[in-house]
Symmetry: C2
Subunit: 472 residues, 2 copies
């Protein structure tokens, strides 16, 4: 493909995307396929001569699109939203087109500097504590691919700090104890496991009736561990849990972390971004007591995946954990301390120019667009809650302060309620008109109604609720 | 931005990229900036109202482009190449436009199935052992973001296997010993460090005169460690080291790994892809003895970053190390064993539809285009070597079987040679007409002449060599 073919084919892809997103509501949300179906439609072996781009796009239309779960569909209520937006799609295109590496300042200065500025812009827009700004002596932020990687990075920084760097030499994590709640995301256990903190050294703290971590139980456990000669080193406090959207009490947890000198990481992957609307700034309460924080514009803000923002107020520990400087990566700029080399702020070495999508979205859509989205979804969720509460067959089983409603069918017994709820989810998903995911809260089946799609409006949710009532 | 604005703006971005790549040779390779220069040209605070897309593109043209190191420039000889190509740029656009998640089969079936097929296609195109195909009982492959992540994944799989899964519970890595050479990439030490294998437990095996690992020294060290009650568990063999492009002797190392039951990972990030041309299939010699392997289409093959291919013949160990299954991620498809959930094959949870760029590139450019690129660069490098060898002021300091030439100025003493070589690199880079990086081999300064740009032709290299001669 040469430059002129790229121009023509590029227009075709732009048009395909525009049509796909404009007409997405006419598609089922999910695919009518079983494992292996899509592969069976494609050649088992690579082509031996080049094919036309038109043929490729035909296969996209005929085979790929019908085989997708449509995350941009207004009736996608599963998992958490993974929104994109037009400006950020174009930014990702530009990222691919420029094809530069941002592993170090020297490897593409603008890639590093725009990213640093975007993290500082977002610190302002979210109203985060000043200590996270890159212009401070000890803080700063970086774009990571996902909250999983941000969590792992924070664990590694904490591990380095508590051992005063010794872990880099002896790898000894045997006495290090980490704390989370039963509602923490699976990436917490995964990150700890990767870092050599096995399940024996992870304390799963009980939650209260709102599914938030019990701070008293946390401190009791920390003291017990210290008394047993162990070394408590890291706490994860979640702002918006995956199962129910619960908020751990970071103001209280933060004081405990400080009292016992643990690293406090706040995982606000889903809900931290709500702070773009000033009336929801409470989602980040307590953050001045944390050592690190992450939230995902690729969820509610509509900046394409992958875009996780990770800040720390202790960059020295992060760099201590993740810096390695071979001869072939040295540069005068970095050694002077004047430049940031983001490879030392993350797990991988290479990195794309991801800040372009934040820059494009903030400048062309603007904060008001993000605020409208957040406010709309919260309002829809609260209205839905009123409707659900008025149907005696259903229970709302968790607080629903923002955009996630957890509900189940009561049934004549808890067991029957489980069965009916599971059947309801299956029946609803089988229509392919909606897509819900299931979770378990207090050992009971729950339907998660997650309302966060960029195109999801009142009418979609009303119609989905009508379907659930009919099926119940 | 609405769909129609997206159409118009999309065309503008396509045009910007086409012009950028068509005229890239007219730009200096590197930016004339100091740390902070680019940020100082941008507003310190986010805009309070939306701006036009045209204004954003003006800033891209006026501020961002002049602030880049141009990785797609024909005179980029630094690091390793990071090529993009037109089809893969359009695939990345489509990836962004569809905005789906590939964390599990259920979360977008086509995303998983196209990826699995692409790994199998690449197994064929590279002539890799059958045992890595997804259609076998124990093997399979996945796209990772970078070789760093692939390396870390292989370490975690090896750690799991040697401890029979116990490491997930106790995190005990205290006796585990890993092996690499002084020429292994920095991501090896970084990955080991992350996994709780400190420098005390990393054995850096000596290299021979060709900078390849000394296999006898490796086995001697493994035996000594076993005799000391330690547990050797992982070896990294590099096919194409970063400093000099050296190849560790995997056929010999593999036998040692089997004899002592270590996991053998082959890091062929840069040079494994050369096997696309049948006469270079030797780059993967010994792979039938390895447990895992990675190579990067985003380097020499011209499939945009991020696209690292990671295969293992022991997927059970990889899944043992990385699987976690909370309620909200369960699916019947995965539990039946019929579907792959790639989240369990990698560090993060979320993942983009990255296989589209392999699919687009293989189908529209085709293998012949990749082969031509590889053959051209190897031929240019060998011709350059002849020229350098005929200039008595220079030494070629390492074998140069493929596309990396390591040279230095002799000087009247090794110290003077170092000084003159460092000055030469600085003077050449100061012209901004070329970009080289420096390394150190046997404690001496070396200029790496890495020839791998998609647009790099004979004339560029001849001209760059002429410049080096003049400056010398």
């Amino acid at each position: 493909m040469d430059a002129n073919e790229f121009r023509a084919n590029g227009q075709a892809v732009i048009e395909l995307i525009a049509q796909y997103l404009e007409t997405i509501e006419q598609r089922p949300v999910t695919a009518d396929v079983r494992p292996g179906d899509i592969r069976s439609l494609l050649p088992e072996h690579p082509p031996t001569s080049p094919e036309s781009f038109d043929d490729v796009l035909s296969d996209v239309n005929d085979i790929v699109l019908p085989g997708l779960t449509h995350w941009q569909h207004p009736n996608f209520y599963a998992f958490f939203p993974g929104n994109s937006s037009y400006p950020s799609i174009l930014a990702d295109l530009l990222t691919a087109g420029l094809g530069v590496q941002g592993m170090s300042w020297l490897s593409s200065p603008a890639c590093t500097e725009v990213e640093t500025l975007m993290l500082d812009w977002m610190q302002e827009l979210l109203g985060l504590p000043e200590k996270y700004r890159s212009t401070t002596a000890t803080g700063g932020g970086v774009i990571q691919g996902s909250a999983s990687e941000a969590t792992l990075s924070s664990i590694l920084a904490a591990r380095w700090r508590i051992t005063q760097g010794q872990v880099n030499h002896d790898g000894d994590t045997s006495k290090l104890i980490a704390y989370c709640s039963s509602q923490s995301h699976s990436s917490i256990e995964k990150g700890l496991r990767i870092a050599g903190i096995g399940t024996q050294n992870i304390r799963v703290i009980e939650h209260d009736e709102s599914f938030a971590m019990n701070a008293d139980a946390l401190e009791t456990q920390i003291i017990a561990d210290k008394n047993a000669g162990l070394i408590p080193f890291w706490i994860c406090s979640t702002h918006g849990t995956t199962s129910s959207g619960a908020f751990d009490p970071t103001p209280a947890i933060g004081l405990i972390a400080q009292r016992h000198q643990l690293w406090l990481h706040v995982d606000a992957a889903m809900h931290g971004i709500a702070a773009l609307a000033p009336e929801f700034r409470w989602v980040n309460d307590g953050l001045e007591l944390a050592d690190s924080y992450c939230t995902n514009p690729h969820k509610w803000m509509g900046v394409n995946f992958d875009c996780d923002l990770f800040w720390t107020s202790d960059r020295a520990s992060l760099l201590g954990a993740l810096s390695i400087l071979p001869e072939y990566l040295r540069s005068a700029a970095a050694e002077s301390g004047a430049a940031i080399d983001y490879r030392d702020w993350q797990i991988p070495l290479g990195r794309r120019f991801r800040s372009l999508k934040l820059w494009f979205a903030i400048r062309t859509d603007g904060t008001a667009v993000f605020q409208e989205l957040i406010r709309r979804h919260v309002a829809i969720t609260q209205d839905l809650a009123t409707l659900v509460a008025s149907d005696p067959r259903f229970d709302i089983v968790a607080p629903h302060t923002l955009n996630l409603l957890c509900l189940r069918i009561k049934g004549s017994s808890p067991e029957e309620g489980d069965q009916l709820t599971d059947q309801l989810i299956e029946a609803a998903n089988a229509t392919r008109d909606v897509f819900f995911t299931r979770t378990v809260l207090n050992h009971r089946s729950v339907l998660r109604f997650s309302i966060g799609g960029r195109t999801t409006e009142h009418r979609h949710v009303l119609s989905a609720w009508g379907m659930l009532q009919k099926l119940a």
